[in-house]
């Protein structure tokens, strides 16, 4: 695939062990990366991938083990040392300063100055040059908070390249990108390897590994399982090595009868935080017993749409009805009371109170209802009983309802939300990016659960940036572009090309 120089080991991590207290996050892991190679790291949530890479980048120090860069043993105690040795890293959670501009973010820590005074003009020129060289187009003066996640990703990569990185670590770079953006990223990686640079990529998406990586190291619960040549294995092989069991990728889904309209959106207009129109005369219907998937590139009004339906954002024009009742601009409370449940996009910021226990989070919308409260007093026994039931039913681990939610893994946090939302017996379930950042095992679980709900005659609105997810799970697919829906298709008739074309705003 790529032009790999198997004689030059740019990275050698030897017998790396990292302990957090009693937890062994990395257990004697070896990793070798060659010049010009794209090397994938694969593993379930919490397997220890990010931890391993953070050690390579000097964010944390290994408990034991050695790291060689270009054959030389280096003690990487802080990111400066990593940067000096040509390592760049794009973190799973972007390390961007939101109110700063693109340029400011890129030059930070490596500023172009004149006696300590910033030379922004020169910096801008350099960045434009760099972005042209690698076809990573950005607008240097945009603020990070105003640009799409895909754009932010580019900024992150530029940050590394700006520092002259020869080895680029990408921690789950594609989990927030559109199919088009992913393709662009693949090109970028190809370009980089052509220059003799090496890339380590962490991803849960096996398809991508197949497409872009040369070799793949698989980690399970901190232990190294195998390193394989990607050409020589199938996706199924990779998945079973990773999880330790067989995994189904496409959730089996029988046809199901739809009936009454549950959600009806009629020509609504919604503004975003900056006061610009984000949802622009959008109309939509979701019926009982169907999953309507909304595909679209991030930033086309998806968030605003969900917030408008759930009462968190004002609807300027138009109407939303649930079960025939007008709920336009009602309070979130009232909308919840109309049997609408939501799995929010940002589970930590919006979906959970991280400092509450699991059982407290389980009643976030229901705390004031019987049997959880009587006359304003919480009924702890009932609340705990409820939590225990849900923990068992949704297989939340560890099965201790008294733990603070923040101590749970991402996947289990997501399960808490799903359990809670389904417990509310909604007529309409809105699922926004329900599998973001989850591993294949967890994704499988969520998809099954969505289909189960649909089979129980719920109406489900699925909003996802993952085209595969939308295509696998939905009964009908709508494409949102610039706040409008111009294209709705039966999932069985949908093709990736066509959807991709519509997502980019293509006209028929």
């Amino acid at each position: 695939m790529h032009n790999i120089d198997y004689k030059t080991k740019v990275i050698e991590m030897k017998n790396i062990t990292k302990k957090f207290g009693k937890l062994v996050a990395n257990d004697n892991i070896n990793l070798t990366v060659y010049k010009g190679e794209v090397h994938a790291l694969l593993g379930e949530n919490g397997a220890g991938k990010s931890t391993l890479m953070n050690q390579l980048y000097g964010m944390i120090e290994p408990t034991s083990g050695e790291i060689y860069i270009n054959g030389k043993k280096i003690n990487i105690t802080n990111p400066n040392i990593a940067i000096k040795n040509g390592i760049g890293m794009v973190h799973q959670h972007f390390m961007l300063v939101q109110p700063f501009t693109v340029v400011e973010n890129i030059i930070l820590g490596n500023e172009i100055t004149n006696h300590g005074i910033l030379d922004m003009k020169k910096a801008k020129e350099e960045i434009i040059k760099l972005s042209e060289k690698y076809s990573l187009y950005v607008n240097p003066d945009d603020k990070i908070q105003d640009i799409t996640v895909g754009m932010q990703q580019r900024v992150e990569i530029l940050k590394a390249l700006y520092r002259g990185a020869d080895i680029l670590i990408l921690d789950e770079p594609t989990s927030v990108l559109t199919p088009q953006e992913i393709q662009e990223l693949v090109h970028i990686m190809d370009n980089l390897t052509k220059e003799g640079k090496s890339v380590i990529i962490i991803t849960h998406k096996l398809k991508e590994i197949k497409q872009v990586a040369d070799n793949c190291t698989i980690i399970r619960r901190g232990k190294p399982i195998d390193t394989v040549k990607v050409d020589e294995v199938t996706e199924e092989d990779l998945a079973s090595k990773m999880v330790g069991r067989e995994v189904t990728f496409v959730v089996p889904k029988e046809d199901h009868e739809t009936s009454d309209v549950v959600l009806s959106i009629d020509n609504i207009t919604v503004k975003d935080n900056r006061g610009l129109i984000a949802v622009d005369g959008l109309s939509l219907e979701v019926k009982k017993g169907e999953i309507l998937g909304i595909a679209g590139v991030d930033g086309n009004g998806q968030n605003e749409l969900v917030e408008a339906i759930t009462g968190l954002r004002k609807i300027e024009k138009g109407h939303v009805k649930v079960n025939g009742k007008d709920v336009t601009n009602l309070s979130p409370r009232k909308i919840i009371d109309n049997k609408v449940s939501t799995i929010p996009q940002d589970r930590q910021k919006v979906g959970l109170v991280l400092d509450f226990t699991v059982y407290e989070n389980m009643i976030l919308e229901n705390f004031h209802n019987e049997p959880f409260s009587k006359r304003g007093v919480l009924q702890k026994d009932e609340i705990i009983k409820n939590a225990k039931k849900l923990i068992e039913k949704f297989d939340i681990r560890p099965d201790d309802e008294k733990l603070l939610v923040k101590s749970l893994s991402g996947g289990n946090q997501q399960k808490v939300i799903i359990a809670r939302e389904i417990m509310n017996h909604p007529d309409l379930l809105i699922a926004t990016q329900p599998t973001r950042g989850l591993d294949v095992g967890a994704i499988e679980y969520v998809h099954k659960e969505l289909i189960k709900q649909r089979n129980q005659d719920k109406a489900i609105l699925l909003i996802s940036l993952e085209l595969d997810e939308v295509m696998n799970v939905s009964d009908r697919i709508a494409v949102i572009y610039e706040g409008k829906i111009n294209y709705i298709v039966d999932a069985k008739e949908a093709t990736e090309t066509e959807l991709g074309f519509e997502m980019a705003g293509g006209k028929k």
């Binding site: 964010m59 940067i83 890293m89 109110p99 700063f100 400011e104 930070l108 910033l118």
Partner: protein, 307 residues
């Protein structure tokens, strides 16, 4: 009397100590460390300034020592909140008990059991610029014949604005206040920068205190800094955590106080207590009417500790 000149001159007198302290608040919070201990640091500065000023007879030495003393108090806050990951509000409140406590305790040690330092003579106080340059009590005299510290306060506000928004150091400070981890991944020493900022914050608060005890007054006593540190804190938030904003907020507050003094001399039928409320009510009204939401740096108050 020329009212405008008087009001402006009084405004400057009132605002100056607040400006220093408020700027101190800005620099600390910009780097992500909440500093509610401004009051304590200011008191410490006022005490040390007056004491050193009295014993040495050199105002600038007093000023510098005030900065150092309050800076040391700030160092405590930095150790707690930067190195030890303390709750910053809590540590700041501790400083507010410690600052006045230590100042008065030491004052009694140095001044025969008294909590009042001895008065400094006019020549040894912070000098006024343009003394005698303009006709006495003219508008220009009222406005410009002010202590060095008044000019220095404005200068510092400009310098801080420049440093924060135009230099490498400022970019890093702001980045750390918004997203310390991002700065860390780029090889910036978050802890070090935060230490520098918090200590600078103490130094500036110390200057604020000394501007009070070496310029407005000529000695230190318990009520000299009673609540001004908190007013400076409020001004810092009012000014949206920006040096230029803090400067403006302090000036507004000072102007309101000047107005009270001015109106107090006018034999109005308004009870004194009602008159005295004006600056505080005015501040709230201005905030309600004109100033948008003040948003703190994203990582303000959050300890950043690796591992």
């Amino acid at each position: 009397m020329n009212s405008i000149g008087f009001i402006l001159g009084t405004t400057l007198m009132y605002s100056t100590p607040l400006i220093y302290t408020s700027l101190g608040g800005v620099i600390s919070e910009k780097s992500g460390v909440v500093n509610i201990g401004l009051e304590g640091m200011m008191t410490m500065g006022a005490f040390i300034g007056a004491t050193v000023g009295y014993y040495s007879g050199i105002w600038w030495l007093g000023l510098i020592c005030a900065g150092i003393g309050a800076g040391l108090l700030a160092l405590l806050h930095a150790v707690a909140s930067v190195t030890l990951g303390a709750e910053q509000v809590v540590s700041g409140i501790a400083i507010n008990f410690l600052g006045p406590g230590l100042s008065l305790f030491l004052c009694r040690k140095f001044f025969d059991g008294k909590f009042m330092t001895k008065s400094i003579s006019l020549e040894n106080k912070i000098p006024k610029l343009f003394k005698g340059v303009f006709p006495e009590y003219s508008v220009l005299d009222n406005i410009f014949n002010q202590e060095v510290t008044v000019y220095l306060a404005f200068l510092l506000a400009i310098i801080m604005w420049f440093v924060l928004y135009k230099t490498r150091a400022g970019l890093r400070v702001r980045a750390i206040g918004e997203h310390p981890e991002a700065a860390d991944t780029l090889g910036i020493n978050v802890q070090k920068v935060r230490y520098i900022c918090v200590i600078t914050s103490g130094i500036l608060s110390g200057f604020g205190g000394a501007a009070m005890s070496l310029a407005v007054a000529s000695n230190f006593f318990p009520t000299l800094i009673s609540g001004q540190g908190f007013i400076a804190l409020a001004a810092m938030i009012f000014g949206k955590y920006k040096p230029q904003g803090a400067l403006g907020a302090c000036l507004i507050f000072g102007a309101a106080q000047a107005l009270v003094v001015f109106l107090g001399g006018k034999n109005l039928a308004v009870p004194l207590d009602v008159l005295s409320m004006i600056p505080y009510i005015l501040t709230l009204v201005i905030l309600m009417g004109f100033i948008g939401k003040s948003v703190a740096p994203a990582a303000d108050g959050e300890p950043y500790i690796k591992e």
